[in-house]
C-alpha cells in the first residue's frame, strides 16, 4: 500500500507540470447513476464543440478533463478539488445540479480560477455569493418558472395547483412561478425527492381542488413518471398541465418509443430551443443530429455555449492565461456566437436573455421535438442581481 502511494506520488510528479501551450478545462458533470443520461448528452455537445474548434482555442491546444460528480455534492466537490489542485486546470465548467455547484464553488474561486456553470443557477450565486470569476451560460433557477407564470396570466388561467419536489430547486421553481402568476394558488404539494415517483395522492388532490391549471417541475426520470401518471389519471382536459424542466430532448425519444402521445402539444418555457433561428444554433443542432442521431437537450446547448464562451476569453488574450482581467472582460461582453442568439451579462455574470414558450411537436421526419410558440420575456434579468455587490 505504501508503494502504491509512492508510485502515485511519482506519477503525479511527472504529469503535474503544465506543458505551456495548452488550455486545461475541467468539466464536472454526472457520468454515473441514472442522471448520467444528462452528463452523456453534455459530453456529446462539449466534444462536438472541441471538434468544431479543431482542438484549439486561439494558439492553445484544448486539454479537456471530465470529472464525475456521482449526482452527489460531496463527490462533486472532491472531483472539483482534484481538477483544481492536481490537474491544475485553468477553467472549471459544467455543473448540472445546484447543490453540487454550491458545494464546489469555493474550491474553484479560492484557487483563483474561472468557474462557468453550464446549467445550475441557484439564487445565491446570482446574488450575495456572486463572484467576479463566476459566469453562467444558462439561467437563474427562478427565471424559467417566472416566464411560465407570465404565460399562465396571458392564457387567462385563473387558479393553479402546484406539485414540485421538496428540495431547493423545487422550492425555487415554486417561488418563481408564484412571483409572476397573478391568479389564485389552490394548493401546493411538495413531494419527497428524489425517492417519491408515485404521485397518485397529489394528482387526486389537484383534481379535487378544481384549479384551472396544474404547474409542475420534475427534472430527469421523475418528469417521465409524472407525465405518465398525469395521462393515466385522464386529467388532460379538466386540468391542463404547465411544466418547466420536465419535458426535454432526453425524455422525448423515450416517450416516443413508448408511444406516449399525450405529451405532444404540451408547453413549457425555456431560454433556448433547437429551432431558434441563428447560424450558430443551426450549425449546432444539425451537426449534433448528424453525429449522434438525436436532438440536443438544453443541457447540451448550454454546455456547448460554455465552451465557446471560454474560447472567446482565451482568444481575447491570445492565449495568455495569466491575464485573468483580460479574459474576464472578454467574457463579460458575451461576445461569442451563442446558440440562443445574442445576449448580455448582468453585473452578477448571469445572462440577460429571452425566454420562449416551447411546444412539443413532430418534426418532418416524425421525430418528437419542440418548436418556439412565442417569446415570453425579452432580455429578462434575474431578481437576485441587486444583491450582488459586483
Amino acid at each position: 500500500m505504501k508503494r502504491l502511494l509512492i508510485s502515485a506520488a511519482i506519477a503525479a510528479l511527472i504529469t503535474a507540470p503544465a506543458f505551456a501551450a495548452e488550455v486545461k478545462i475541467g468539466f464536472v458533470t454526472t457520468l454515473t447513476t441514472g442522471a448520467a443520461v444528462i452528463g452523456k448528452d453534455i459530453q456529446k455537445a462539449v466534444n462536438l464543440a472541441v471538434e468544431q474548434m479543431g482542438g484549439k482555442m486561439g494558439p492553445l491546444d484544448i486539454n479537456l478533463i471530465y470529472a464525475d460528480d456521482g449526482f452527489k455534492p460531496e463527490t462533486g466537490k472532491q472531483a472539483t478539488d482534484k481538477l483544481v489542485k492536481q490537474d491544475k486546470v485553468d477553467f472549471v465548467a459544467g455543473y448540472i445540479w445546484s447543490n453540487v455547484l454550491l458545494a464546489s464553488r469555493k474550491s474553484v474561486l479560492d484557487a483563483g480560477k474561472f468557474l462557468i456553470t453550464a446549467n445550475a443557477g441557484p439564487g445565491p450565486i446570482a446574488g450575495k455569493l456572486c463572484n467576479k470569476n463566476l459566469f453562467s451560460s444558462s439561467w437563474q433557477n427562478d427565471e424559467t418558472p417566472m416566464a411560465m407564470g407570465e404565460v399562465l396570466n396571458q392564457n387567462g388561467v385563473k387558479s393553479l395547483y402546484i406539485i414540485a419536489p421538496n428540495y431547493a430547486a423545487g422550492k425555487g421553481m415554486v417561488a418563481g412561478v408564484k412571483r409572476t402568476f397573478k391568479g389564485e394558488i389552490k394548493g401546493t404539494d411538495m413531494t419527497t425527492w428524489p425517492t417519491q415517483l408515485d404521485f397518485s395522492a397529489e394528482l387526486a388532490k389537484a383534481k379535487a381542488s378544481g384549479a384551472d391549471g396544474l404547474f409542475v417541475f420534475y427534472p430527469g426520470k421523475a418528469g417521465g413518471a409524472f407525465m405518465k401518471q398525469y395521462q393515466q389519471a385522464g386529467l388532460k382536459d379538466s386540468l391542463p398541465l404547465y411544466t418547466v424542466f420536465t419535458v426535454d430532448a432526453l425524455s422525448l425519444p423515450k416517450f416516443q418509443a413508448a408511444n406516449f402521445t399525450d405529451v405532444l402539444g404540451s408547453q413549457f418555457t425555456q431560454q433556448w430551443d433547437p429551432t431558434l433561428d441563428n447560424p450558430q444554433n443551426k450549425r449546432f443542432v444539425s451537426e449534433f443530429r448528424a453525429k449522434y442521431g438525436s436532438y440536443p437537450s438544453f443541457y447540451a446547448a448550454q454546455a456547448y455555449d460554455a465552451m465557446f464562451l471560454i474560447r472567446s476569453a482565451v482568444e481575447a488574450v491570445n492565449g495568455d492565461l495569466t491575464n485573468m482581467d483580460g479574459m474576464r472582460t472578454a467574457m463579460e461582453s458575451a461576445n461569442y456566437p451563442s446558440v440562443r442568439g445574442k445576449y448580455t451579462y448582468g453585473n452578477n455574470h448571469m445572462p440577460i436573455q429571452n425566454y420562449y414558450l416551447r411546444q412539443v411537436v413532430k418534426d418532418s421526419d416524425g421525430n418528437w421535438t419542440t418548436k418556439v410558440v412565442k417569446t415570453v420575456f425579452k432580455n429578462h434579468q434575474d431578481s437576485y442581481a441587486k444583491d450582488c455587490s459586483l
Binding site: T33, M190, T195, A204, A208, Q232
Partner: protein, 308 residues
Amino acid sequence: MDYTLLFVQTLNGLQLGLLLFLVASGLTLVFGILNFVNLAHGSIYMIGAFIGASLTLWLGNFLIAVVIALPIIGLVGYAIEKFVARRLYEKDHLDHVLGTFGLILVLDTLAHLIWGPEGISVPLPGWLDGQVELFAGVVVPTYRLLIITAGLSVAGGLVWLVNYTRLGMLIRAGASNRTMVSALGIDIQLLFALVFALGAMLAGLAGMLITPITEASIGMGGQIIITAFVVIIIGGIGSMKGAFIAAILVGMIDTLGRAYLADIFALVMSPSAAETSAPSVSSMLIYILMAAILAVRPQGLFPPKARP
C-alpha cells in the same frame, strides 16, 4: 370533508401498499427461510423492471412481456443464489449486509452497462391506459386497479402456496428445522434456491408493474429496498402476514400523510408553517412509525414464533 377524495386516497394507499408487499414478501420469505438479509433485493426489482421494459418494447405488449419476463427474473435470482447468496448463508447478518451491498454496486453498474443510463419508458395497452368510474365522481386510472388486483392475487397465491402445498410445507419445515428437512431426503439446497428464485420473481414482478407508472431506471432499487425493509421490520421479519399488514399500513400512512398532513398541521399551526413542515414530516413518517412500533414491540407486530 371530501369523502370521495378520501376514498380515492385510500385506494392509492392500498395500491402503494400492495406494490410494497410484492417486494417485501420476497424479502421476508428469503429471510424467514434462509435467515438471509438481502439488501440486493431492490436490485433484482430493478433488473425485473428493465427486463420487463425491454421485452415490452420488443414484443409490443406489456402483459405478454410480463409473463415471459417472470421466469427470466426467476433464473436471474437462481443464478444470484448459486453464485453469491448461497455462500453467505452460513455467515452472520453483518456479512449478509456487506456482501449484498457489494452486490448492489455490481448489479446497478451492470444494468448501466447493459441498458445505459437513460431508463426505459413502457407503453400500456389501450384498455389499461384509461380510467374507470367506480361510482359517481370516483374516477381512478385502470392500471392502478390492475396493480391492486395483481397484488391481492399474489398475496392470495402466497397464502395458498405456503399453507396448502407440498412446497409450502417444505418451506415451513425448512424455516423451523433444517435438519429435519434434510433427513426427509429432500435436497435442501435446491429448496433454498427455489425460495430465492421465488423471492426474485416477486420483486421482479413488482418492478415490472411499477414501470408503466414510472420507468425502469438505474437506482430504482436503492429507493424501494429501504422502504421494503421498514415494512418487514414493522411486520416482524419472516412473517408473511406481518409483511402484508405492514405493507398496507405503510402504504396507507405514506399516502394519507402526503394527502392530509398539511391540513392536519394547519389545525395547530399557521397555514404557511404547516405547508413547509408537512412535506418534511411526511418523508420521515414511515421511519417514525417504525421507530415507534419497535420501541413498543422490539420484534415487530407479528414476530414469528420462537424456535425452540
